[in-house]
Symmetry: C3
Subunit: 283 residues, 3 copies
């Protein structure tokens, strides 16, 4: 049985790069369904790619072969790897941390191989396009039933590169957060979960700079152009504007630091108090 392939890159859709990888996969595994997760990862942003990929894991077919390419070190000494997760999904991509949050979501890395077999990679391998020459072929061969160990030499999963995403810093009355991404609607995704709010004693309303944001269940609970906060579809806090862009309203971009404070009168903190001194921006 052919396994489905899930494909993510930072190649964009402006060029034929993604399409050529599809062609390579279709040559090797003509029956495989190839599903584009996204190709709009910000260029060379391994952390953002790792986050998007790992958040999608719960929705993938159990037998998926994932091929992900955000690869600033293409052509350098960084290895091309495949990782079999304990949940069964196989991850293919560069050994630069891109895949690590995903195998953590999937129960950990059961085994890993370096992709080196001449029966797998295209010859000659270019220095600049390993998506076409290494990763797509490896994913397609795996989807078509190639034994995992046929990819190349075994690697110790414990020695693979890891991407650590920044954690929110929680203190009484305030959270130092990071913008993890801004989606096409202008919603600002933070690295903050509901439990962080509880630990900080923030509920109902949150202060961001001069803005008081109410927590709402749905966009429509806000007035038009009103700013609020919401638990997004992944369980993370997002800052949103009803029929507008929170990123624009709050002048926030990917990677920015944001301080969430308990709103005036909501807890013990007096009006106009500065944020606690011991709170440092996460970085």
């Amino acid at each position: 049985v052919t396994r489905p392939i899930v494909f993510l890159t930072d190649y964009g859709m402006q060029d034929e790069f993604v399409g050529v990888c599809h062609a390579v996969m279709a040559r090797i595994a003509p029956e495989a369904h190839v599903l584009d997760l996204t190709h709009a990862v910000p260029r060379q942003d391994v952390g953002r790619g790792a986050l998007i990929l790992s958040r999608a894991m719960p929705y993938l077919p159990d037998d998926a072969v994932v091929v992900a390419v955000v690869d600033p070190g293409v052509g350098s000494e960084r290895r091309a790897i495949a990782v079999r997760t304990r949940a069964g999904v196989i991850l293919v991509g560069p050994d630069n941390g891109l895949l690590s949050p995903s195998w953590e979501v999937l129960g950990g890395a059961a085994e890993a191989r370096e992709i080196l077999s001449d029966d797998v990679v295209l010859a000659p391998v270019s220095q600049t396009f390993h998506g076409r020459d290494v990763f797509a072929p490896a994913a397609a061969h795996l989807a078509d039933g190639l034994a995992f160990e046929a990819l190349g030499p075994a690697l110790d999963p414990a020695e693979l590169a890891i991407h650590e995403s920044p954690s929110a810093m929680v203190t009484p009355g305030a959270i130092g957060a990071r913008v993890m991404g801004v989606d096409g609607f202008g919603n600002v995704q933070l690295n903050v979960e509901a439990e962080h709010l509880a630990a900080a004693g923030i509920a109902g309303v949150v202060k961001v700079g001069d803005h008081q944001l109410t927590f709402v269940q749905i966009f429509a609970d806000l007035p038009e152009q009103g700013i609020g906060a919401i638990v997004d579809s992944q369980g993370f806090i997002a800052l949103v504007v009803n029929k507008g862009s929170a990123a624009q309203a709050l002048s926030l971009r990917d990677g920015d630091t944001v301080i969430l404070e308990r709103a005036d009168g909501e807890g013990g903190q007096g009006p106009g108090d500065p944020p606690p001194r011991h709170l440092q921006p996460v970085d």
Copy 2:
């Protein structure tokens, strides 16, 4: 036999939203072909989405399951619905009028269900991403053979939300029209059909503001950068520029009102006459 799925949203391709919906569908119906009609509907523009969708209907496979999501009311009381059309195609989406012009093209709504079954929707259902949690799963289950009535309680098709697209207003010598869309080439699509022109006594040449536009069969009948009018591939009148953008040349955008007038000397109206007083912009 697995039915093909046709997918339209306003999600854009900048994020992984479309890809995650594909993943959800692949989990449920691994054999289904999923075809992206477009994901570039202007955000939250239900009318535009309804128009694009309904115009595509004649080209779809007869056994298609269509899933369409342009859904400003996500998370509110608006219902998630599936509609079986008399032609056989099933439509899945929000009950906000998005689907109604499509079932009209397909012979009307034979029956409808609200999508509520716990065997269909993902748990927990998010407040903000029903494409992933409600609509994609419903479409995939239907594609995979789920009985229509298993989706949830029956709805009276007569009580579903309807989208009424604005009609052209035809008078002798002039038509009050609406820009229904501007495509990527800058062609301006109007809600005007050939019969409207005939009824208004417009033929051969049409006046739009200060411009005299000749009706041509093909772009190449115009000089380069020349403005003209054409019957588009859907049977509607479009304003076009050969190797250029009519939207730019005429400063027109989606939703704008346009007065088409019989050109000077072509009919009874004298040069320089103002448009008839009784002609009001459609709105």
Copy 3:
């Protein structure tokens, strides 16, 4: 057995044009896998489309049916054609040169047909959307097993339109080159191959205007924001910037002329010498 379809256009993804073509193909050949090579060919740029298409040929499945539409002459007298290549791949598209570099890559055109059969094209054929009405149906019927000769009357392959891409002009110490494209990363692709450099006596370093560019194997061999030259994944010379845009750094765009000169002290040419008089920009 259903053949895979490879689809390239200049339609962009902003509209539903590509999706409607997919729908048409799914009606005719429900089992066919349709693979999007790219839809971001610059609008009406037949030469660029021809180049992208021909460079992808080596990566396609051997039994592919390619449908390519970059068609400024749609609706005019230009013919709709299908070409069976000696390698087996079938090419479908307008007879405007778009397909010719591809059949050259694939061993030449074995036979050709004009697409005219009423059993193939949709009725009525629009004047503006032959992708939907002529090319997609023809590709889908071929993928589904239609005999090649059933498309319409035979054409003499020798009489089909040819696209000639501009050649680099090589002289001792300098090459007159053309920018063949700028990819989404800002890499500048030239119509120059390694053998041209050897013939011009350029090695190691190349002068472009005031810049001295070192040839590197991989991006990471350059300092950040450093400009260099590289042999790209297709065997052509590209000008690149590590983690930046060479197009921006050198103010170059698609179609521009570029003079590559032997760097000072590398060969016989003295410092400050003007480029050889007999070198003319290719055009």
